[in-house]
């Protein structure tokens, strides 16, 4: 596809929202508000990806980073009873500034030293991305436009590994958060036994936990 020129006004507006919301997410003492600010920050970054000509990354950002991550974060805030957060100490704010500001200045110097003339972003078509993602390196594919492309990425193996990593993370999260006696899986025999016991307890019998 042809390179295009993204609109500077849209970029500055979105960047302003992203930076303000990031500052709020990092400094707000109310963690529910911080999670909401995080959601807005990640939401506006989807606009940045759109401006860069990568609609797939924009959609992914909306679905996962702006949708699922802040909700999980709010779950974390409520489940760990940490509605409010303070600074570690007044000293740590100074240390944080001393680390973050030089990093910021250094990266600005680096960025401004590499002026890259009139380069323009090239939009990435969904079809091309999908073929690159789901085939082997060197395979050839005929696009719907009729042109033949040779796959340079070829990340089908990495794609499957990423899927396994997500599965392992989910199972691991369940096992780490599992607590015998308190967390029960609805379909396990012990859960059924506990339910029967609870019904008996409701009828006025002794709770099985009472003598423990």
């Amino acid at each position: 596809m042809e390179p295009f020129s993204p609109s500077p006004v849209a970029f500055y507006l979105i960047a302003l929202v992203a930076v303000v919301m990031a500052v709020l997410a990092v400094t707000s003492s109310n963690l529910v508000r911080a999670s909401l600010a995080l959601a807005f920050c990640l939401f506006s970054l989807a606009g940045i990806f759109w401006l860069l000509g990568s609609p797939f990354m924009a959609a992914l950002q909306l679905l996962i980073n702006a949708g699922a991550i802040p909700i999980t974060t709010i779950f974390m805030v409520l489940m760990t009873h940490s509605r409010f957060s303070r600074l570690r100490s007044p000293l740590s704010a100074i240390v944080g500034l001393l680390v973050a500001l030089p990093l910021l200045v250094a990266s600005f110097l680096f960025v401004s030293s590499r002026a890259n003339g009139g380069a323009q972003p090239t939009p990435l078509g969904l079809e091309r991305l999908g073929v690159e993602l789901l085939s082997q390196r060197g395979a050839t594919h005929t696009l719907s436009t009729g042109e033949v492309m040779v796959v340079q990425g070829g990340t089908i193996v990495a794609f499957q590994v990423a899927a396994v990593i997500l599965l392992v993370a989910l199972v691991g999260a369940i096992i780490i958060a599992f607590r015998p006696g308190e967390t029960t899986l609805a379909f396990s025999p012990s859960a059924r036994k506990r339910q029967v016991g609870r019904r008996g307890y409701d009828r006025g019998e002794e709770s099985p936990r009472a003598d423990a």
Partner: protein, 100 residues
């Protein structure tokens, strides 16, 4: 006209903000929020370099980074829940006491 430097500068600002938060916040969930901001700054860098050089592998790498972010948040939820159950609060000090 927008150049690559604009996007890199935005990513640098977001990364610095996230780094400040990760160093100063006391609550573990707040630290995780800051790390999220840093990771998304890296995502901007990846996609910006990929699009300005028309290299599809940067986009693919960004896709995998998103998968890793999702896995990190799921594991983080479980870990912080356990830290909270054992100590009654989920703060950085609790984790530094584990060294002893």
């Amino acid at each position: 006209m927008l150049t690559l430097s604009h996007f890199l500068a935005l990513a640098a600002v977001l990364f610095a903000i996230g780094l400040y938060g990760a160093l100063t916040r006391r609550n573990l969930v707040a630290v995780l929020i800051s790390v999220d901001i840093m990771l998304n700054a890296v995502l901007i860098n990846l996609v910006a370099f990929a699009r300005f050089t028309d290299n599809v592998q940067g986009d693919l790498l960004a896709l995998f980074v998103v998968a890793i972010i999702a896995a990190k948040v799921a594991i983080g939820l479980a870990l912080f829940l356990n830290v909270f159950r054992h100590n009654g609060r989920a703060t950085v000090e609790v984790l530094s006491r584990m060294k002893q």
